[in-house]
Each structure stands twice: as structure tokens, then as C-alpha cells.
Symmetry: D2
């Protein structure tokens, strides 16, 4: 492997543009070699000012460009599968934004394809694992500093949702982060999902029921729940409270300058995920680059992508039935143990 | 009514002794006239230093003592019913520690007895309503300052439990406070209860499953839940987070002097309910005294005692079945509307 | 001494009215027997609804009223001296709002008069000592929990000042509280005062320089300072940060319900001293009543009133000169040791 | 200028090693080309695993190495002057750790040398300006969001000091950060310094008086003060509270996971400056690299280095005299306006 990752970024939308900026200004050991977008103008805009980068209209061109040796996939999820196969064929290091693929079946095929390759090349973009507070809580759990973990209470709040954001997307695009977080914190698989629908906010778009209360269990019986509330208006918040045998740990509190003014004390709520998790994205991508230069991956695996896809399927079913739905998983391949 | 309440305190145990001290040193307009305990020595110890108070071995004696004109019932719950009838007969102002009675049927009979009397004389000891933060949250809800209330998340944590504290008591003695709190906050009845049992702490006594996750719904569909965790070891905590259409409000945070020492920042957790709710007890009893001197009651009614008893019955059933159990209530009498 | 304090409240202005309400609705063991105000109508309004209380136009009448056995002085400070002498003559328990008298000389004479009486009857209204956080910090200092106390940093902020509030009043009426607090915390006298005048706020009334930075030293060399800022607009705040050999303790932080709404997190600042110190006033007056019924005082002494008056004189001089000014004190009489 | 900064790091001690790691693993657009240390073994250890880097024993060798095009100076301060002249001669971008030089006279000569060059090449390592909270407070001041800034209260606390840390170093090495911060926040020069010495901690080494209270004024009369306490034991803390006409802003509060355990609530204090300001160092160095690649500097100038040196001289004099000492500054050259 060379000393520098020459990355083809596939997709120049919001996330892609963010990664392009990150790779070209803040990440050590990587450069943007190519940007691919079906909208070529958007790809061209994205490489402006980046020496040595080319704008292309197809992933194929990028993967076959001799200057490229790594791939970051930031297209909509339904396009991931095809690009993943091609990148695996090239044996390139891959950072694939979540979801790995939109459903458990296709994700499982990707897992199988990587297995055939015989080594891990796919890192999935669950960037919360790289947040400083997530890491700190993860360490407290793994080190049993406060005894056994018993319960995990999550709040996931967005100020608003983009147009066309459905109940299914609320699970697949939002709660999917908690599915991974709970798996990361506990080191266990999720075994069941239940969804409670109560009094909805009048701020939700037509057809979307918001908030929802998602109940989960893990293999050892840890009770987790997620308050998902995506039209919470006040700002963006992702918080977790973990109950242990010997204490309670909370992460995701508000911070920043503390102001007393006009009869109020407090500060500004983080407005969105970029502000809340910007540093985590940097750490994630740097970890990927560092690992890739060593021939490894530095974060969540294709198995994590598959397992969360299975959780999402159970979650959407639970949302419809109101009942507790079991999560079905294939046996974990040796490659991911 | 005279200018001073001459109170017979029935029961000189932990709560009774606490109320005796309160009435004789901090409450304006009331004095302890008599203390009743089956253990007469305990009653005698309790009146030490209180001019004009007598120690008695039976509630009857106290109620018939000409110097007594009000009753505070602080015996174990199973003894409440009989004393309540006698005090109602005397038409005395009554402050009855929770539970009103141990089950919904007997509570309903007390409600009917008070109805026959034609006016309210029984105030039930749900003292959390008198806590400054509970009041503040209650006001935010009633004034619709942040739009409609959608969800209520409660944490109820005790450092440890007394010997013989069973799973049923966990509902009847602990979660009962949240049953009342949720009814107080929403101004609605609770319609169903479900209980989740997950991974238990090894600190719980034999036969007790701790923590438990209790799920509730109200008439308008507000989703409430309670993390009840009674061997949490770290201290005592009662906290609530309310999600509104336009924001989130949290109460019950830690406070007190802020210390930075030995690599740590923080302070001391409230060790028990006396420290956490001591001021609320004072406010509760003062409100009762003030109202009683006007011939009224100043807090939760016998109906509140009955309705929470019905919630407890559903809660204990839900604990056993794991299923969602409906709460059954008689029609609310006019006296309590 | 009887079982009930029958209090004559002298002065029915803001503080007087507050104390009348306190004594007649929340304090155990005391009743308002008389209210005195030169504006008799104001006195009459103040006793409305209080059984057994009379409205009078002179302190003499009240002190000679057979129903009165205690005095609470809440007139403007320049009227205190004369009333104090008369109440001492009656040997009544006295709670005197600060200042004891307006200057050190007259305060010293009061100290001497009380000495002639041979026992302490005067408690001075430095109510901050009764605040829960002040008490907690005081205990940490006295118990040497964090080693020796080295520095005390105080913030004293008012939203605004009443008309006619001069630079001298800023010391005599505002910083006087910190003079007492520093003496209370350290258990030492203040030895010097310096005042820094910097960039003033445009919100201050004409002739008033605000904020000011007051520097103090105690006998053992503890460095204290006070940021006095009386047109701070945002609300009322009294906070202290104490630096010890082994840590730092801060009190006076904001609290109350925690709200996330409209892009902000936080809560409401206490608007004024009643809200901030209302509970402390209750504790102070209850302590006075309890002690008075035992023939003692339950708080700051006349010596504390005298010593703070001497600090104020030095403070006003320091304000004018910009130099460090020594605090001059007579020898402490045995009665106050 | 090439696309990559090839940096010679002069000095491989604690700060140098930290910068070498930063440049070689996290900073985009720069590489370590050479590490210089009089202890060649230390230089060699520092380049281990860094492709293309050489270890050298003299700054001359590094500056004349054709592969080097930028210099980061991390030697002890008394060695800076000579290296600065040589690097200016080469017209290399320079990031010089603070102090620029140990005294105002020598710093002024460096300023003059850079002026002769006709453009700015020297960035001084006052990294706090790059801290997110410092930036946020700076923006609030510059935008007059809360009216005029009136006072600045600083706490600067270290757990302990290295051996041989003198009273002078307490000003020159510690308070120098606040000298720059106050200049940064106000956009004004500091006009006077006074130092108060009170009761010292018994944890200070022999000959060092700790804590100290440093009082400063700026051109417009802003009153600033610094509690410098370098044996505070509990951890590392750098905090500022700014008083404005319309409110108060505080930065530097504790954060991280919130734990309730064993009777305590709270978290871990930052143990040292790397943990507190690690991110700020990254931002600082990235800003320097980005600016250097454009032929500019991206932070504090040589003038800032000179002006803080003048403050330090006044501070040390004030420490000895106890009096207010004026800060003497030459006229600001056009290059820095």
C-alpha cells in the first residue's frame, strides 16, 4: 500500500461533499483523487480547488482510474450494493456510509462476498462509535467500572425532517444509529423490537407518526429503549443514559458557552448532526485511512451493516403490528468474530 | 374551626416521627395534640419536649380526646381504612399517608364514605405535587407553554430497599408515586400498564427483580414510562423528562455545592427521600393545615387515592403477565370533579 | 418565656411586609402581635386577616403593648439605633434587619449597650448564613475537608437598582452582605479593602459607577474579591467560589427546570433576592424564634453588625481613593467571643 | 509554495514530540521532514515510523536541508531568538511556541527583523485562540451580542508544577496565556498589572508563592483578573467569565460523561493541558499549515509575542512590588495593524 490513500468519493451530495472537504483539508494520509456523481456538474463543483482530483460520472470510471486506490461510498443506500461488489473486486479499502444496503438479504450477500475475498475491506459509516463520549461510555461498560450494564435509555431528537420522510425511514435512517449504538455498547446482538405509538406532535408531516418509543432487548436481557422524535423543533440531540449495577452514566448533554442574559441561563442547542458529530466524522475517517494504509479496517464491519439491517426490518414490522418482533440473524461468519 | 389545628398523629414510625417533628417545629397553625402508636413507648418518645401532647395506644382514644381536631395517619397502609372511617365520622380534617388503602375496592369504599359526608375531608399524602420542580413542570404543562405534552420519562431510583421489599411493593410503594405524578402532570387517568423485566442487578435481594421498566398510557395517548430501580446504590433520585411539541423539560437534576477535587468535578447525590423531598413535605403539610383551617383540603383527594390503587392493581398484574393490562376505574363522583 | 413569640414588626415596607407574611403563615412558634409604621394605613393593610394583631404608629406603643414580647426591626437603617435601645431596655429578643446601624460608631454604642445588659438579645439580619449552600460551604471550610481555604471569589449581581442608589449604597447596602459572608466563611475579621473602578455599564444611573471590583484580605491572608454589579440586567445572582489547598467549591449556580426549546438549553435566572433567598429568610426567622424561646439568639450578633459597619466605612473610603484601606476595629468584647 | 509543508521541528521534548505526532498523523498538508534535538537520540526516537524524516542535531542543518520548507520551534524559549533569525533569513513559514523570546527587548528585535522582511512569517503558539469556546466567546464580544464587555475573570489552575518552577515562571509561563487571551478577547493592549499575594497553599514547592491574584486593565478600562493557582491538585482548569452590559458568559466548564455513583454526581476533571487543549493545538497547527501554503500566517503574530513579553515584564515587577505597574510598549508597526 502506498503512503497516501487516493480516494474516489462516490456521491457528491450533502454527506459526500462533507467527506470531500474533510479528506482534502483535515485528514492526514488521504487525498481526494476522484469525485463521482450522476450529476457531473455537482462532481465538478465538489473538486474545485483540489489539486489532482477529477470529476467523473460513473463509479466504474473511478474504480478503473489508475490514480484511485480507495473508495468512499456516499450515494443513496439503494445504490451501495453494486458499487460495493465492484470495489471488493478491486480489493480496495471501502468506507461505506450507512446503510450498508437497504435490507438484510442484500446486506448478507455483501457479507458473503467479502468473506470470499478472505479479509475485511468494508468499513460501515456508523460514526457515533467515534464520538468521544460514546467511546468513554463504551470503555466504562467494557471495563465493568460500574458493574454490569442493565438498561440503556436513548433520546434521538431532530429539529425537523426532510420532505418525504416516512415512518419506515424513521426506523431505517434514524433509529438505525441506536441499533448500532446498542450493539456497540453491549457487544451483543439485539433480539427483539417493539414500537409504541402515542400522542403525536402536530408538527409532523402528514402520514408520519412522531414521536415513537422503540423498545429493544439484547442477548443478555439488557433493556434498551429509544425515544425517537424527529420534529422536536428545539434542535438536535442524541443522548444516552446507561444504568449499571453500581451507578448511572449519561452522555450527550448540552454544552458550549454558558450565558446568563435576559432572565435566562443556558446556551445554544446543537442545531444538527454536523455540529454534534463533526469531530466524530473526522475521527472515523482518519481511523479508516490509518487502518487502510495498514491493509485493515478501522471501524464497524459489513456484519454490523447486516445485523442493523435485520434490526431495521424487525423495527418496521413492529411499528406496524405494535407487537414485540424477534430479530432474525444468520450465524456470524468467522471473519467477523 | 379554631385558629390552631390540634393534630393526632396516628403511627410514630419513620414517617410519623418525621411529621411530628414537622408539626411541632416548622408548621404554622398546627400543634401535635396526641401521638398514637401500638408501641406506647414509641409514642411517648415521640412527644418528648412537645408541650400539651399526649401519648396514646389507640386511635379511638385520640379521636375522642377533646383536645384533638385533626388527624394525620402515618400507620402501615393496611390499617388506614378503619381509622379513616372513624375520622370521617368525626368530620375531622385528615391527612392520610399513601396509600389511601391497599387495594382499589377498599379505596372505593372510602371514596363512597366521604361522598356520603358530602364534602372532602381526606387529603392523600402524594407529597411530590408540592415539590417546587414538580409544580414548575405542572405549570408549564397546564399553561401549554411548549405546546402539547407528548411523552413523560421517569427515573425513580433508591439506594437500597428495606428487608422484605417484594416485587409487588415495588409497584405499590414505589411506582405508585409515578402513577400519581403522571395523573397530576397530565390531568388524565392512566389507561394501561405494561412491565418489562430485563437483566437484573445482583444487588437485589432474593425474589426481587430489579430494575423494572414500567410503560403507561393516559387517556389522550401520552406515552409515559418509569425506570424503577430500587437497589441503584449511588443514592436517591427522582427525575422526570417531559417531551412537548415545542421542547423538552427535565426536572430532578442533581444540585448542591459544586466541588472540583481529586480529579473529579461534581457534588453529593441526595441520599434519601427526606433530603430530596423534605421541603415538599413541609409545603404539603402547611397546605393541609391552611386548607383545614378553612374547612377544605389542600391536595390530592380520596379519588386520587382510589385511582392510583387501581393503577397499582393493574401494575402488579402486568408485572406477572408481561402483557399490557387495562386500568379499570369506576365513574368519577361529582364531589371530585 | 412563653411558648409563643408575640412579635412587634417595626416597619411595614417591602422587607417588613415580607416578614409579617412569614411570621403569620409559615413560622412555628411566633405570631404577629403588632405592626408599626409611620404610615398607619400601611400598618393596617399589613395586619389584614391576622387575628390578634394591632396596627400602631409608633415603636413605643408597640414595645409597651402588654401583648408584645419580641421585636423585628425592618425600618430604614437610620432609624434602628433608637428602637434598638428601647427594645434592649425591655430585654426583648430582637431581630434587626441589616445594617445594625448606619456607621461603625453608632454600631459600637449598640454593642456596648447590649454588653451592659449582660446577655445577647440582638440578632442581625444577615440571612445568607441560613442559605443551604452557604451552610454547606461553611461546613466544608470549618471541617477542613479540602485543606485550608486560600481564596474566595464572589459575584453579586442585581438586575437593576432602585432610584437614588449611590456608590456609597453599593458598598453599604450590597457589598455589606459579602463583608459578612467572608467573615462567616473564614471566621476571621477583614483587615483591608480596595476598590477598582473600570469600564462602567451604560445601564447605570447617573453618578453611579457600576460594576466595581472590591478586593479584601482577612487576618490570615485569605484573598477575597467581590464583583459587585448592580445593573446586570439578566437577573439576580449571588455566587461564591472558594479555592482550597485540595480543591475548589462553587455555590450559587443556577437551577430549576431544565428546558430545551427554540435552539436554546437552560432555565430561568432567579429574578430577585426573595426568590433566591426566600427559604433562607424562613430558616433565619425560625432560628431566631426557636432561640428566642430559649432566651438566646440564633444567628449573627451585634458584633457582626458593628464589624461589617467598619468594613463599609473602609470600603467607601477605598472607593474614593482607589487605595487599599485598613479596617479599624475595637477589641472584641467577651460577650461575643 | 509546494502543496505540502515539509516541516523541521526544532526540539523533540514534550511539546515537540506532541507536534511531531500531530503533524505526522492528523494534520493535512504537512509532513515532518526533520526533527532537531541537541540530544540526537531523542530526535531519532521522535522520527521512528515517519517515512522521509531525518533526525538532526542542529537547527542549521535542518534549515539548509533541501527537503525542509517550514519550521516549527519547540525548544526552550531562550533558544528561540537565534533560530527565528535564521528561519526568517530563509523566509520560511514559522510556528514558534510561546514565548516568542524571553523578554520584551529581544522580542522587539524579532519584530523589527520580520518588518525588514516586509511580510509576516512568524506565528506564535498562543493556541487558546483556537479553542472552540475561546472562539465562541471572542465572537460574542466582537459582535457586541451582549453590549460592551466590562470585566473578565479568569481561573488558571494546574494540578502541580514541574520542579524548579519559580514565581517568575508563574507569570512568564502560565499567566502569559491570559495576557494573550485578554488581548485577544478585548482587541486591546493591557495597560497595567498588579499582583496580590495572600495565604499560600502548603502544596507549593519551596520559594514559590501559590496561588496569586493578578489584576489587569486594558486600554478602554476593562477590569480583568486572573486567579493563577498552579498546585491546585484537583486537575487542570482554564476558565473565563466575561461580564457584559447585558449578560454574563462563562467558558471552560467541566464536561464529559456524567456519572452518578457511590453517593456522588459528576465526572472527571481534565488532567492536563493536552486533554483540555489537544483539539485547539490541532486547529492551530492546521491553521498555520493552511495559511503557510498560501504564503500567510494563520494566528497570533510576532507583535503578539512582543506585547505579551512586555506584560510579563510588568507582571514580574508587580509581583515583587505589590504595586500597580504600567505596561510599556513601543508603537505598533504597520505590518501588524
Amino acid at each position: 500500500m502506498t503512503q497516501t490513500l487516493r480516494v474516489a468519493v462516490i456521491g457528491a451530495g450533502r454527506m459526500g461533499a462533507d467527506h470531500i472537504k474533510r479528506l482534502s483539508t483535515r485528514i492526514h494520509g488521504a487525498e481526494v483523487a476522484a469525485v463521482v456523481d450522476v450529476d457531473l456538474a455537482r462532481a465538478q463543483a465538489a473538486i474545485e480547488g483540489i489539486d489532482g482530483a477529477v470529476a467523473l460520472a460513473s463509479a466504474d470510471e473511478a474504480l478503473n482510474n489508475g490514480d484511485v486506490n480507495a473508495v468512499l461510498i456516499a450515494t443513496p443506500g439503494f445504490l451501495h450494493e453494486e458499487i460495493l461488489y465492484k470495489a471488493l473486486e478491486k480489493d480496495f479499502p471501502i468506507l461505506c456510509e450507512k446503510p450498508l444496503t437497504p435490507d438484510a438479504d442484500s446486506a448478507w450477500k455483501v457479507v458473503q462476498a467479502e468473506q470470499s475475498l478472505g479479509h475485511k475491506r468494508i468499513q460501515v459509516g456508523f460514526m457515533r462509535r467515534f464520538d468521544a463520549e460514546y467511546s468513554a461510555l463504551g470503555a466504562i461498560i467494557r471495563n465493568s467500572e460500574l458493574g454490569e450494564l442493565l438498561m440503556l435509555h436513548h433520546q434521538h431528537r431532530n429539529p425537523t425532517t426532510p420532505e418525504g420522510f416516512t415512518n419506515e425511514m424513521l426506523i431505517n435512517d434514524s433509529v438505525v444509529h441506536e441499533f448500532d449504538a446498542i450493539r456497540y455498547f453491549t457487544g451483543e446482538e439485539i433480539t427483539s423490537v417493539q414500537v409504541r405509538l402515542g400522542k403525536p406532535t402536530r408538527s409532523a408531516p402528514n402520514g408520519q407518526h412522531d414521536p415513537q418509543h422503540v423498545l429493544l432487548e439484547t442477548e443478555s436481557g439488557v433493556l434498551a429503549d429509544v425515544e425517537i422524535y424527529v420534529n422536536a423543533k428545539f434542535g438536535y440531540q442524541v443522548a444516552t443514559q446507561a444504568s449499571f449495577e453500581d451507578g448511572i452514566v449519561s452522555i450527550g448533554g448540552d454544552n458550549g458557552p454558558y450565558v446568563q442574559s435576559a432572565g435566562k441561563w443556558g446556551g445554544n442547542v446543537t442545531p444538527g448532526f454536523e455540529e454534534r458529530f463533526g469531530a466524530a466524522y473526522d475521527v472515523e475517517v482518519q481511523a479508516w485511512v490509518d487502518a487502510a494504509l495498514r491493509g485493515e479496517i478501522g471501524g464497524p464491519t459489513a456484519w454490523d451493516g447486516y445485523a442493523t439491517a435485520a434490526c431495521c426490518e424487525a423495527g418496521v414490522e413492529a411499528q406496524k403490528s405494535g407487537e414485540k418482533v424477534k430479530v432474525q440473524l444468520n450465524t456470524k461468519p468467522d471473519l467477523y468474530k
